[in-house]
């Protein structure tokens, strides 16, 4: 067991990083818009498809392969710029103030449309482009070969947590978002353009989802069905951390990552249920999640 401690910890962190990217956008959108976006998983996989397509284009034209790193971020920006305003203005804004059931039905409808759209455009075969992973090479840690890209993902997840905290606490946009989250009507009455904040916050959520998909592409395949799986896992993480809690999402990702990895190492038959087992335990002890509360709303 002693020779598996380091791989176990590293795998937990790497797994948590991927899970965090899948969940953080969902929790951010909920914190600001109070909308549970069921189509979040589709935006994650669209980010992956776009990133893989651009990276494949770079490879086919024999351009500088390091451009593929830029392509990962650019594809997330591209998806956010197209889908963020379109979905928020076209669909989501009609659900503000409506019951959760209406919000879920509408975004679920969108999820089904986006899933079929991906199948029509990208086909049913697995999509994969691993240039960024190959460029960074591997490192042997504790006798196990790891991809340096996996370590980069852990660093990226940390950067996103810090970046979001800085954005919320130390920028004007962050203060405006905080004001809208705290009291939407009051924010409106003092002249804050809440519609603009909603578009920006939703697009930021889409960016984070698409970034997650894009960053996952070099080490994971993108195939039909990924959106649904991502969505379920993102919900579990959001529930553990407390809906709308960014730090909660980070901690919950760590818990889920560790639970999954422990299951794979020690009890492989529990692999699939481990994240939901962790969710069950947390919700039994803290029904509103680790960072959630009944009344307070924080981001």
């Amino acid at each position: 067991m002693s020779n598996t401690i380091i791989p176990l910890l590293l795998d937990s962190l790497a797994s948590a990083a991927l899970i965090f990217f899948a969940a953080v956008g969902l929790t951010l959108v909920f914190s600001v818009l109070r909308v549970l976006n069921v189509a979040h998983g589709s935006l994650y996989s669209i980010g992956g498809y776009v990133a893989a397509s651009i990276c494949l284009f770079i490879a086919s034209r024999q351009l500088n392969p390091y451009l593929s790193f830029l392509a990962l971020v650019f594809s997330a920006l591209f998806v956010a710029a197209i889908f963020g305003p379109l979905i928020e203005r076209g669909l989501v804004r009609w659900t503000y103030g409506k019951s959760e059931a209406v919000q879920i039905l509408i975004t679920f409808g969108l999820f089904l449309i986006l899933e079929d759209l991906q199948r029509v455009i990208f086909g049913v075969q697995s999509f994969y482009e691993d240039a960024p992973m190959r460029l960074l090479g591997t490192t042997s840690i504790g006798g196990v070969v790891y991809l340096n890209y996996q370590i980069l993902l852990i660093a990226m997840a940390l950067l996103v947590v810090i970046g979001l905290r800085l954005l919320i606490n130390h920028t004007r946009l962050g203060r405006l978002i905080t004001a809208v989250v705290t009291d939407r009507e009051m924010a409106q009455s003092i002249g804050i353009d809440t519609n603009r904040i909603f578009i920006l916050a939703f697009s930021l959520g889409v960016f984070l989802a698409a970034l997650g998909g894009a960053l996952a592409t070099p080490t994971s395949g993108i195939a039909p069905g990924l959106g649904a799986d991502t969505m379920v896992l993102a919900f579990a993480v959001a529930a553990i951390g407390g809906l709308g809690q960014i730090e909660g999402a980070a901690l919950a990702s760590l818990i889920v990552g560790l639970a999954r990895v422990l299951a794979i190492y020690l009890a492989p038959s529990l692999d699939a249920v481990a994240p939901y087992g962790a969710m069950l335990v947390v919700l039994l002890i803290r029904p509103y999640g680790l960072f959630g509360s009944v009344t307070a709303r924080r981001i």
Binding site: L18, V145, Y146, A223, G225, I264
Partner: protein, 462 residues
Amino acid sequence: MTSRGISIGVARCLSSLEWLFGLNRGVPQGKVRWVVDGLAGALALGVIAATPAAAQEKPSALGLGIFTFTSGPAAAYGVPGKNAADLMIDEINAKGGIRGVPVSATYVDEAQGAQGVIAEYRRLTGDAKNQVVIAALSSANCLALAPLAEQLEVPTVGWNCDTHQLLMDGKSKYVFRPNGNTVPEFIAYAIYLLDRKPDVKTVAIINPDYAFGHDAAKIFTAALKALKPDVEIVAELYPKLGSPNYQTEISRLATARPDVVFSNLWGADLENFVRQAAPRGIFTSSQVILALGETVLQRVPLPDGVIVGVLGDGWWMSPDAKAKPETVRFAEAYKARFGEYPVFPSIKMANTLIYVKAAYEAAIQKNGGKWPTRAELAAAMKGSQVETLTGTAQTRADNDGLVDQIVGVTTKTPAQQFPVIGDMVRYKGDSLMPQAGQDPLAWIATLKPEFAKSLPKPGSYK
């Protein structure tokens, strides 16, 4: 004709009631469900029994219900099957159909799950135009449809259906599998491995987390233990079907340091596993066996020396296949139409259509030139021996198929841009199968090292 229409309508209404009240969602409904199922079945039987003459009239078109995955991660395996069906049906129709009757297919996506598949099966077979069903890819769906096929008396041919449990009771009249099953398919890998690497001590397994993955692990392990009892299984991993990321599983395999890694992952899962495991050294630190490896040869850069096979004899480049002009023609037509050469799921589907066509021709001949009923068609399949694109499909008395098993290792060839299978062996279909009615695992436990010695060796199939 009117009464037949009414009967079909009532049967469909009852099926709808079943759906409406959730009786088919696994909720125990006791007698109510039994009554509804019974009535629906009785009406369907009535429909068939009431129209024997109509069933024997030569139809203007022959409909085939074909069940495969056209969406979801399993589509990577299911769509090549569908492509092959499209191509083979076009070829059959170009040659005048079956005795002048053109063939058409209605595809059902298996990704909707067993309840949806059952509903579609009922709908399709309620139409007399669809006299035979080709179903299915998923073992779970095959097991779900088999009792219905018997109840409705519809010839149902498993084009994939790997599970050995499908025909174990030996009582099936309408369900056929012109393929091998999990027993010969995975014993073949154990024998090939021990021939190639007789000093193997430790094995790790990574299979998908459902019946196919667990059955394969059980059979492969049982065969290894019977033939080399000191082999130790050091890790058994069952990731969820459709999992995109195997990094943690790969770390676990690396820490177990096995001599051999065995996997029957398939479709997009297999592609993902190969792409993620290769840079992390799994293919150099262990002898890897990818039971469905042939399906990814054209898509991922597999290194040399990986043990792969085709779960049967369905490799379009095997010496037997290459010797058949129709197979070469089929492979080239497939490549021209779909951009890739056929993979073994494509060949399995094409062979199944050849099997169905041969059954029709045999039944028509036996029937004095008259178009056969469903029962006559099923009778023609029983005990049949059909020349396929890649060998022979023999149907036993229990309706299970005997096909040869080809296993080899990946190797490069100047003739192709992708790896091919070399150092091959071709085990006879009946040599790796228990007798009809015999418990497969009990039979495997009786195998001795001498059994493996009597079989052909790697490299013998050229």
